[in-house]
């Protein structure tokens, strides 16, 4: 899909990508000539179709981690308990912003280390080098998805589906 500014007959460029939030990705495109902006909002089905191709809207820096699509979208999987990551992968943890750490404090203290690890795992799968408040929110939304298997203290369980 390509967006065109009709007034300028100029292809629009992606300015910002947000989400997925509640299954929707918000993409903002801008015309490099007149500055006109347009937002494209995907429905959950469209978001899922793109996700199932193993590509990222908004582009990607570097190669994706191994089995990214499978590991980030299986509703129920042996991870994080038994899909082990080699030390080299685990050690290269993403950096937390102050805002993200503040959000983490919202989780009960006894599950906080587990939640922190789960968010870091989510961030790595998404190719994020920095964990912002938005990444924490995205992780939470992913766990809130049906069958998403949230860590205790964040989101709701859907194990019964």
């Amino acid at each position: 899909m390509k967006l065109l500014c009709i007034a300028c007959d100029e292809p629009m460029k992606l300015v910002e990508s947000q989400g997925p939030t509640e299954g929707s990705v918000a993409l903002t495109f801008g015309c490099p000539r007149c500055g006109q902006r347009t937002a494209l909002l995907t429905n959950p089905g469209e978001t899922q179709l793109v996700r199932s191709l193993g590509v990222q809207i908004g582009g990607r820096e570097g190669a994706p981690p191994p089995l990214e699509m499978v590991r980030s979208t299986l509703a129920r999987q042996s991870a994080p308990h038994s899909v082990e990551e080699a030390p080299g992968v685990e050690g290269a943890g993403p950096e937390w912003t102050d805002e993200a750490l503040k959000r983490l404090e919202g989780a009960p203290p006894f599950v906080r280390p587990m939640v922190k690890k789960a968010v870091e795992r989510f961030a790595r799968l998404q190719g994020c080098r920095q964990i912002t408040g938005e990444v924490v929110e995205q992780a939470r939304n992913a766990w809130d998805a049906p069958g998403g298997g949230p860590p205790p203290g964040m989101g709701h369980s859907h194990d019964g589906d």
């Binding site: 007959d9 959950p44 199932s52 191994p66 042996s78 899909v83 082990e84 990551e85």
Partner: protein, 298 residues
Amino acid sequence: MTKSYQEIVGDGGSDILGQVTQQVALLRSRMDRVRHKVAICGGKGGVGKSFVTSNLALALASRGHEVGVLDADLNGASTARMLGVGGETLRVAPEGAQPAVAAMDIRVVSMDLLLPQGYVPLSWQGPPTHQFVWRGTMEASAMREFLADIDWGELDMLLLDMPPGAEHLTDLSDLLPELAGIVAVTIPSAAAQPVVGRCVARAVELKLPVLGVVENMAGYLCPSCGSKSHPFGMEGAGRDLASHFGVPFLGGIPFDPAAATATDEGSPFVVEQPDSPVAAAFRGLAAKVWEAMEGGRL
């Protein structure tokens, strides 16, 4: 008059085409290290594709070949268990996920290794309704990742244990255009033959080499006296099918309860019981498949 789709270069910033190109390049570089890729299929459930795949892998490995097995039956994965690595998990390293390693150094990847233990069906996160719209794409992408993101290393042969349904061959031939061929598995049952035949026909349509037909459950070997009976129907279905399509008949595998039990338990029967008729049948099958690869027939 505004610009057309074709006149606009790029997609505005996501570079989806570039990402897909990168996926294909990774798949190619990984598969370039695998000498031969062979799909074991039958189109029909219950003919023993996984049994044949597992024991053929062991027979090939016992000839000294480096063998990998990819359980392409994502929703009915059983090969990991049959090769004795059912309880294991994949390790993820920067260079790729490490496959489970079974007897004879066979490298195994199956959805089983990612799902929790127990009666847990394969399910994906996503919108709860209209899953039929995207589930097929998700499964095809999972197959792509299993081929491209697993650190298979150098292999002489990668066996793909295909799910029931001839349509999966179409997806596989898109992912692996260099697929060396298929081995079709049938059983004496008259009900199985047309289904397996449709699978072979699909392979022919796709111009995939058909290495031959194997007849599984070709007679029952009595565990007490060793005599052979035919509770599954008279032998010949495999030979008939091979003759119909003008492809080699690769042999029959008799049903031996001891082999079935050992395979269900993940014990390498063909290696541990080399004198058994089943082990001999698999050695013969391995020799024919290898010969088809290396003997210039292809």
